[in-house]
Symmetry: C2
Subunit: 339 residues, 2 copies
DNA sequence: ATGAAAGCGCTAACAG
DNA sequence: CTGTTAGCGCTTTCAT
């Protein structure tokens, strides 16, 4: 079978404890011994069994990551950042896709609990009562959902909305439509909040349409609704919807942005790739993933000392206006190589 | 601490063994006892510690999944399928992103090995020698890379290329360009193979340009190169590149598809969202992920009996011609809900 | 059908 | 600095 700590111990003529120490507390082992042990370990290809280690230390060096749908381009980006940050701390990550199902989410959390030190929940779909049920199962960190008493990473959509509406006002628009996302979405509530505030401030009249599923198809449908109103600008819950609007608008012969301005919230970073390029509110997806893991790890560290209460980190968003001649941003920082 | 098997045993007035059996081999326990145990377990919220279980059984019920870059939209889709299939078999999945780094890939495999029953390697970037080094560390299954003796899932890009070239021939094109992907890519080699064969058969003259990174920006650059030739059609390594070409073409005032046809290989399923819609060779990404996990699981099952050699599954690709009026396919089967 | 005991691979006291 | 002992939570003989 697999090579164990005893194999190394035997080969290096030391006890298992010494081998263990050579890995976990090197300074407690004489240099010569340590080097011998490590050399032997390398020769025989020994890697500590983290599961066994976790059994005794209580720490697994794994974290869980739960997302509603990997098909939603927002989440792979978050995932990428999270995984990178976890790796930095030498942690491995368990991934689960709940397929938008809150019950499955609960089950997946339960299944994971024993194998991880904590879990990052992205845009959790659980009800308040389900949430309470899992809250003390392990250490949880939320991304894109407000929960008190635990670490939370939030993306400041409301401010993004403010930027977007002010931009429209500057362009001379008098009336705009907001294509609302799912009613249960925290992000959507934030965006509506920002919308209404900005409407007051700028004097731009804002009508809300929807709700729409955050999908391309919904945008196609939404475009027709928009055209039946007298707005000159559209704000979409996300850029998947916005892309649909753009497409349908083109089909119906409406010039963008001459007759109609469309702004989306960035889920996919592909907005610049369409013709015409879509104006979007940039969302720091990878950073958010990174931040969530960081917060969780910090939380875990400080756990020995008494907690003072939940930490919260809010990430800013930024309006990006794209002209068709400007080079678009890259899809992903590390996107290189073959497929 | 966490609730253990002993807590349940005590509460239910049985031994730990019985609790264990109630979960793993229910038929060996008297019905009344089993029901009592299971009820108590549920009441106190007991979930077996899979790590501890794995320590003794040798099976972790976890599988690993390694991808080069989550920023490449091909991989989240594969991931989604893989995760779904794993869940079906009650397996959890470890995810790692190698950031296109073969050395990191090796290290991540080693770190995972002890916590998983097997690993699915997607578009592995390892050299042959690195590959040999990890081959017997655990059970490996490859996706998008040909390796003998182990389970492999391949996507029939060559045939997709055939379809694409024949389509161009039918449209009356006499000369086309292929925008080559990374030289180390198995997919790229397959596509070139298919290209050359189809060129012979159809009589369409095909010139190869590149190699290009599989990114949008590379497509912008490639478009200028294309325009310097006298081709009337472009075949791109992937649709990220194709999207770039389309964009640049629009900027330079070239009408598509009137003066120029562009065909991409499907990485992102967003091709239909651009204007004009991009003709693509559809790649069964989720199915590929699903298949890879399935093959791995089968392989693991059959392991007790002697293996007969590696299994191989090849998935077909399909040319999809899109008119701007036709409804595009959904981004993801299960894409619903809020973000 | 159930319990007692041994042990998976590892680390954490406790000696020395 | 290093070895010995005990035991993490679970499953699995081997008894009964």
């Amino acid at each position: 079978m697999s090579v164990t700590i005893h194999d190394v111990a035997h080969q290096a003529r030391v006890s298992a404890s010494t081998v263990s120490r050579a890995f976990t507390t090197p300074e407690m082992v004489r240099t010569s011994t340590r080097e011998r042990v490590l050399r032997v370990a390398d020769e025989v290809g020994y890697t500590p069994n983290r599961a066994a280690r976790g059994l005794i230390t209580g720490k697994t060096a794994n974290i869980g990551l739960i997302v509603p749908d990997l098909g939603n381009p927002l989440f792979p980006a978050i995932l990428k950042g999270a995984q990178a940050r976890a790796l930095l701390a030498d942690h491995a990550v368990f991934l689960a896709d709940t397929d938008e199902n809150p019950d499955l989410e609960v089950n997946l959390i339960k299944a994971m609990v024993k194998q991880v030190d904590g879990i990052v929940l992205c845009s959790s779909r659980m009800s308040e009562s389900q949430l309470r049920g899992v809250l003390n199962l392990t250490d949880l960190t939320f991304l894109n959902r407000k929960v008190s008493g635990v670490p939370v990473v939030l993306i400041d959509s409301a401010d993004g909305m403010r930027q977007a509406v002010e931009h429209l006002a500057a362009l001379g628009h008098k009336k705009a439509a907001y294509l609302s996302g799912p009613p249960t979405s925290w992000s959507n509530r934030e965006r509506r909040k920002g919308l209404r505030a900005a409407a007051r401030t700028t004097g731009v009249e804002c009508v809300e349409l929807g709700p729409f599923a955050p999908k391309f198809e919904a945008g196609l449908q939404a475009a027709d609704l928009v055209l039946a109103t007298d707005v000159t600008a559209v704000l979409a819950f996300n850029d998947l919807i916005a892309l649909g609007v753009l497409n349908r608008l083109a089909d119906r012969g409406v010039a963008v942005p001459d007759e109609m301005s469309v702004i989306g919230f960035d889920d996919i970073a592909f907005a610049a790739m369409c013709t015409p390029p879509l104006t979007t509110v940039f969302t720091p997806k990878e950073s958010a993933g990174r931040a969530a893991v960081e917060l969780l790890l910090d939380w875990l560290d400080k756990k020995s000392l008494g907690h003072t209460g939940g930490t919260q980190r809010t990430l800013g968003t930024q309006l990006i206006v794209r002209s068709s001649t400007a080079p678009p941003p890259p899809v992903s920082a590390g996107s290189v190589g073959r497929a």
